[in-house]
Symmetry: C2
Subunit: 192 residues, 2 copies
Amino acid sequence: MDARPTVNPRLFGFVGGSHGPWRILESTAIVGEPLSEATFLDIVPGEPPHGPGCSWVLRGVTSHDRYVMRSEKTELVRRQQGLGRPDCTLAALIPIRKKAAWWALTQDERRDVFEAQSEHIGIGMRYLPAVARRLHHCRDLSRAEPFDFLTWFEFSPANASAFDDLLLALRASPEWTYVDREADVRLERAGA
Amino acid sequence: MDARPTVNPRLFGFVGGSHGPWRILESTAIVGEPLSEATFLDIVPGEPPHGPGCSWVLRGVTSHDRYVMRSEKTELVRRQQGLGRPDCTLAALIPIRKKAAWWALTQDERRDVFEAQSEHIGIGMRYLPAVARRLHHCRDLSRAEPFDFLTWFEFSPANASAFDDLLLALRASPEWTYVDREADVRLERAGA
């Protein structure tokens, strides 16, 4: 058999429920249906177990860059810092789904909306290294997932209002007219 | 629960074994490990069952365009025809994996290799509508898959040598220096 039943090593499960290292402070539906209620979040590598006390499970894989050009990548890598910094006790999980019209665009059209019109990379760059970020793709997983992307952000309490500014700028951009579901889950490291 | 255990509607399984509507004429390893032996191929929507007589299973999802620009897409759509034409009794399944170096390139670098250097779209265009094609992505599925892409081609016996020319041109391109596994499975519609 050439089928290898091992999990994609870039797959992560985000499990909302009654336990986990992140306490959910607030969960808002920005566009569309809300997530069900949960008090804690666990982030697990691989296929998440469906345990008791689990309210929702979202899955995503980290992957290669879709829009970034080499010059932008060089600058992003120079400025960004990793997840898990001790002072970054706050986090946000922003799951997003985009309309079919977005996916029907060609690469040049998506890049035009994403950066030329919306400065998605440019806006994000202004908040580095304050806001650390990891993007997960859900659209091409084996199961039908409720979102296309899950973005995980970590920042310190001192940068919480800067993070809100970042979201305001992105949500006001032309790219966001293609968003048809968006949730916003705010979290605090449990024990922080 | 927000987890929906339904399969991705764009997922297809390619099952090599002892039955199916396509008879395997030849299976060659172009680069890397060969596929195990099989005599027939079945293509199933969704998650393929692991039945008896199954030698290998490959999975992939159809997805949005990654490199094509609007002007190219317009021309492709104008020229191409669908799968399943009655005279297209021959087919090929070409599973490909690309090196980590490919996935580390940024979008502008990949597009440069893909089209400016390799004319991947331009070469394919010359064989339309003779060769019908459907591309499946495997890299961001939930399981670790042995290939990154599965391309399925259908053509008539009269166009079989044109199809070989298409493959020769692509395999001689700079893009193919990034390929680290490639299989080439040739098939005939069973009963044709």
